[in-house]
Amino acid sequence: MRITSTGAAARPEYYDRNPTQVDLGSTTGSVAPHILTFRYNYTVPTGRKFLLGMWRVYWQRITAAAPVGRTDSDVQITPNGGSAIVNVDVIGLTNGVGDHDGATGGQATVLLAGDNIAGGDIDGSTGGGVVFTEAIQGTEFDA
């Protein structure tokens, strides 16, 4: 009985193929309303792949706006040659100081060479300030 092919047995696991830990992210200060802004960006190099391990999105209002607009913190994935899709986001439309929302998750998604993942935020308010956090962790390895 064969339970694994000789080819599969000869190929190391992904985490043994020249792995590189990728940790990207940013926490802003209290920032004014702004257009969609990417806080980190990661593109898979040629000949490599990337296994997404975890992501984090978060926002917290520090000072009230007048009026408040849509607040969004998100992660977007763009396949090579494709269009961006929002992988995860937290959206708010509240104006209380200290209001916040966030999410952290694990996700075993494999990105191929040329694929991109980015974390960004937007605040459509007038005035006021919000702190944003976006981050990812994963492992890059030989394809």
Binding site: L24, G25, S26, T28, V31, H34, I35, L36, T37, F38, R39, Y40, N41, Y42, T43, P45, T46, Q76, N80, S83, A84, A113, G114, N116, A118, G120, I122
Partner: protein, 96 residues
């Protein structure tokens, strides 16, 4: 390493305001001035440290590259084209 780069993108739809880099992590965005301080992987941009025209500024996050001549930019862009062949000609970061 820390670099100060120009921002691109309209911020409308999916065209986010960002540095024109394949990989970076934000340290400080200065929207109104049109540039940002970002961290980029040292091992994927070896030309920048050593280039004769590189000038640095001391910041609270370490020395930031703030000047690079045309030859330095060309070498950097060529390196990015080789490393990201699926996006040849796309990544054209500009030190600001």
């Amino acid at each position: 390493m820390l670099v100060r780069v120009k921002l691109t993108g309209s911020g409308v739809g999916r065209d986010a305001l960002r540095p024109n880099l394949p990989t970076y992590s934000d340290v400080l965005h200065l929207h109104t001035q049109g540039f940002a301080y970002v961290l980029i992987p040292d091992d994927t941009h070896p030309e920048l440290h050593k280039h004769a025209s590189a000038k640095f500024e001391q910041t609270g996050h370490g020395d930031a590259l703030i000047a690079l001549d045309e030859a330095g930019h060309s070498a950097w862009h060529a390196h990015l084209d080789k490393m990201y062949q699926e996006h040849k000609g796309k990544f054209r970061p500009e030190i600001a």
